[in-house]
């Protein structure tokens, strides 16, 4: 579309609105002024008849009513000078919906910001022990996290249980904060690192994996699966099956199953692979709320203590 044409069109409608508004308002005032020298016959009927016998007297209006009408005209003109109304003219006050929103957000930040910011100075474990922070974290959780992780944080198929002390991506405060702030993407390629497996081989490997955590498994299949495991799964899930929290590869030897412990489901997962995603909340919530949420989730049960820094060389300590 030709920009100049659009500009002219917008300009025309702008002018149209301004003209209509001003003519209407000033027109009312002019009309009123002209009518103030008009006359009528008080006490007489106007002559119109409705419904057979309903008529209307012509009686004078009080003067103060007329002055109030003029007052509304003045008010309207002053209002239009100060606020938007004359086309796209923003008015002297420069009010806008967006501007009002921004102003209110500033006030909200000044009011509520300190409540969250007070915890930024403390480390996650201290915050987790604070009852007020726990309540705030709980409300944040119900608002932002419960839709996937459940109202009791107990999780659902494909959404981890946050109460069980089992961490796919690591349960230290730093790792949890990273998960919340930056989100996570988990990928398992179909059939792991051995895409040429057939259905029977997949089943064998599944039985082996089941045996690692004590689930019912056919011993013959377990044997066959054990041979397939290093090629198909070990690169990510580890030779011992303990997984890798650095990349979110689950521990296959524990009793926690993100999807299902049913054989058919496990076969489906191995065959089709996995694409799981948690959206990032860092930018959306801001560092203070993420900090409070981290503490809450850490404190739900089973949060791991942060890894201690490497101790000074023993030789130096012996002095």
């Amino acid at each position: 579309m030709d920009l100049k044409f659009t500009g002219d069109l917008v300009g025309f409608w702008n002018l149209f609105v301004i003209v209509v508004v001003l003519v209407s308002i000033i027109g009312c005032a002019v009309f009123l002024w002209v009518q103030s020298s008009a006359t009528h016959s008080p006490g007489e009927v106007t002559g119109h008849v409705w419904d057979g016998d309903l008529q209307e007297y012509s009686n004078p209006l009080p003067n103060w009513w007329r002055w109030m009408f003029y007052l509304t005209v003045v008010f309207a003109l002053v209002y239009l000078a100060l606020y938007p109304g004359l086309g796209s003219n923003p008015g002297v006050f420069g009010w806008s919906m967006r501007g009002q929103y921004d102003a209110e957000m500033k006030v909200a930040e000044a009011t509520y910001g300190p409540k969250f910011n007070q915890f930024l100075a403390q480390d996650v474990m201290t915050v987790a022990a604070n009852p007020e922070a726990k309540e705030m974290g709980g409300r944040l959780f119900q608002t932002y996290c419960a839709q996937c992780h459940g109202g009791d944080a107990g999780g659902a198929p494909s959404f981890p249980n946050l109460k069980d002390g089992d961490w796919l991506w690591g349960g230290t405060p730093d790792r949890i904060k990273e998960t919340i702030a930056a989100g996570r993407t988990a990928v398992m390629t179909p059939k792991g690192t051995k895409p040429d497996m057939d259905a029977e081989q997949v089943r064998d490997v599944v039985h082996y994996v089941r045996s690692l955590s004590g689930l019912a498994a056919d011993s013959v299949r377990v044997q066959r699966g054990q041979e397939l495991y290093p090629q198909a799964c070990a690169a990510c899930h580890g030779a011992d099956g303990k997984g890798m929290t650095a990349a979110g590869y689950p521990n296959l030897t524990d009793k926690v199953w993100l999807y299902s412990s049913r054989e058919d489901k496990m076969i489906e997962i191995v065959t089709k692979g996995v694409q799981n995603h948690m959206p990032p909340y860092g930018e959306f919530l801001g560092p203070a709320k993420v900090h409070v949420l981290t503490a809450y989730v850490w404190g739900l049960g089973g949060g791991e203590k942060p890894v201690a820094p490497v101790a000074a060389a023993p030789a130096a300590a012996q002095n």
Binding site: P42, A146, G150, G154
Partner: protein, 472 residues
């Protein structure tokens, strides 16, 4: 400006031409005493004692009557109403409407003449004016007088008194919404909040302008009640009427003359009924929309009739039918009990009884059960199926309570934690509960279950709330 017509043709009827707008003529009602004036003042005392007095009454620790909008609670003595009870407000409004229809159909504009705040405050402001400026003749003289020291002083005193009364009225109004004792302290320590300040002065300004200056202009031009009274009245409604059959032809005569001896009706054309009228009409022209049914003209005329030794009631309460058909008082009153009145009364009593019953049975505990949407059903250790619920427990009473929760509806169903909940006074609290059903007990699908919440220590406060349990 009058348009001066050219020399009119003789066949043309000369009609008075006037401007479309007229300046308001200030009305100075003459003081009158009598039955109806007494009743008006009784109502003024009654309504204003309640209005100005109610916010000061205590109820334990708090104000007895408080509409705490900020905290979303209305306190009416022992009753605490929550937003969920707004239904009662609708019912009260309906009741008020039916009551209005009823007594207006019976005896006309009783509201206007006796109870309307406009009438009551105008009465009070007029009384102050009379106290300071004197009776009607003195007031008219003062209006016409040039502005000298005396007039300035009197007016200043009057306006000052009006302002004080208006401020007190505005202050009291805000005291219905903010605890009035604290408001009183804030007022004198200049620590009122912005909205409190605004409303006190806004309402004071309105009271001052409407009751002090506008007075009958409100009734004549602003209030819709005057206009739709036409549909509320019927030929059997008691209205204030001048009896032209008795009074016409009107004319002056000397006192002591027997009523039927001169060739005149009972009306001596003293004009006092016009002088006492607060809306400035002549009731002898018949019922007009301006008449607010205050009864001052009745009192005035009766006083004159007494002086003339004539029977009272030249201006009196009567009905259109009674006047037309010449009914006796007894016959007229018999027609008060007509179908319309009976229907209004029955409906009114019925709704009132229902309202009283509903308020008496208002629950002290409200429970909302919300299923966790993310988790339809979950399998836990041992194969049991778990559903998550969020219970919103509203403790409607004014003391903290502990509640015991249990579930029922499926064999073996239970909570996975102790069912003890604690909720502070007049508060709402949410609790997340996990409900478990042992495996293989019932069929798959949705099952109706019940949450039983019971107050510990008060068995009467209990709720049996329905919910749905899903087995995948």
């Amino acid at each position: 400006m009058n348009k001066q017509a050219a020399e009119p043709h003789p066949a043309v009827r000369l009609v008075q031409e006037e401007p479309l707008y007229k300046a308001r003529v200030k009305i100075h009602p003459r003081t009158v005493s009598g039955t109806f004036t007494r009743w008006r003042w009784v109502l003024v005392w009654f309504t204003q004692l309640i209005y100005y007095g109610l916010p000061w009454l205590p109820w334990g620790e708090r104000q007895a009557f408080l509409l705490d909008i900020a905290n979303r609670k209305f306190y009416i003595f022992g009753l605490m109403l929550w937003p969920q009870d707004v239904f009662f407000l609708a019912v009260i409004l309906i009741l008020s409407a039916y009551a209005l229809f009823l007594f207006t159909a019976v005896a006309g504009r009783l509201w206007c003449g006796y109870a309307c705040p406009q009438t009551v405050y105008t009465e009070l402001f007029l009384w102050i004016e009379k106290l300071i400026e004197g009776e009607r003749p003195a007031r008219i003289r003062l209006d016409k007088a040039p502005l000298d020291a005396r007039k300035f002083g009197l007016r200043a005193l009057k306006y000052g008194a009006w302002v004080l009364l208006a401020l007190w009225t505005g202050f009291t109004l805000v005291g219905y919404f903010t605890p009035i004792k604290e408001l009183w302290v804030s007022f004198w320590t200049w620590s009122l909040g912005p909205w409190e300040t605004f409303w006190i002065f806004f309402y004071a300004l309105f009271t001052y302008v409407l009751a002090g200056h506008l007075r009958e202009q409100v009734c004549l031009y602003m209030c819709p009640y005057a206009r739709f009274q036409g549909v509320m009245f019927d030929p059997d409604t008691l209205v204030i009427t001048y009896d032209p059959g008795r009074g016409e032809p009107r004319g002056q005569r000397r006192k002591g003359v027997p009523p039927r001896s001169v060739d005149r009706g009972d009306c001596v054309d003293c004009g006092i009924c016009v002088q006492v009228c607060p809306t400035g009409i002549d009731i002898r022209n018949g019922l007009q929309y301006e008449c607010i049914a205050c009864g001052a003209c009745i009192d005035a005329c009766d006083t004159v009739m007494d002086k003339m030794d004539y029977p009272r009631g030249l201006i009196r309460y009567t009905t259109e039918n009674a006047l037309e058909k010449g009914w006796s008082r007894k016959e007229m009153l018999r027609h008060v009990l007509r179908p319309r009145i009976v229907v209004y009364t029955v409906i009114l009593l019925g709704i009132f009884a229902a309202l009283v019953w509903a308020i008496a049975h208002k629950p002290d505990l409200r429970v909302s059960v919300m299923r966790d949407r993310a988790i339809l059903a979950r399998e836990v250790d041992g194969g049991a199926i778990e559903n998550i619920y969020r219970l919103q427990v509203m403790n409607v009473t004014e003391e903290a309570r502990r509640y015991a929760v249990s579930v029922s509806g499926i064999e073996g169903i239970r909570l996975d934690r102790d069912g003890l909940l604690e909720v502070p006074a007049a508060a709402t609290q949410s609790f997340t509960l996990a409900v478990r059903v042992p495996p293989d007990t019932v069929a798959r699908g949705a099952h109706t279950i019940y949450f039983n919440v019971r107050a510990i220590g008060n068995e009467e406060i209990a709720v049996h709330e329905k919910a749905s349990f899903l087995l995948p």
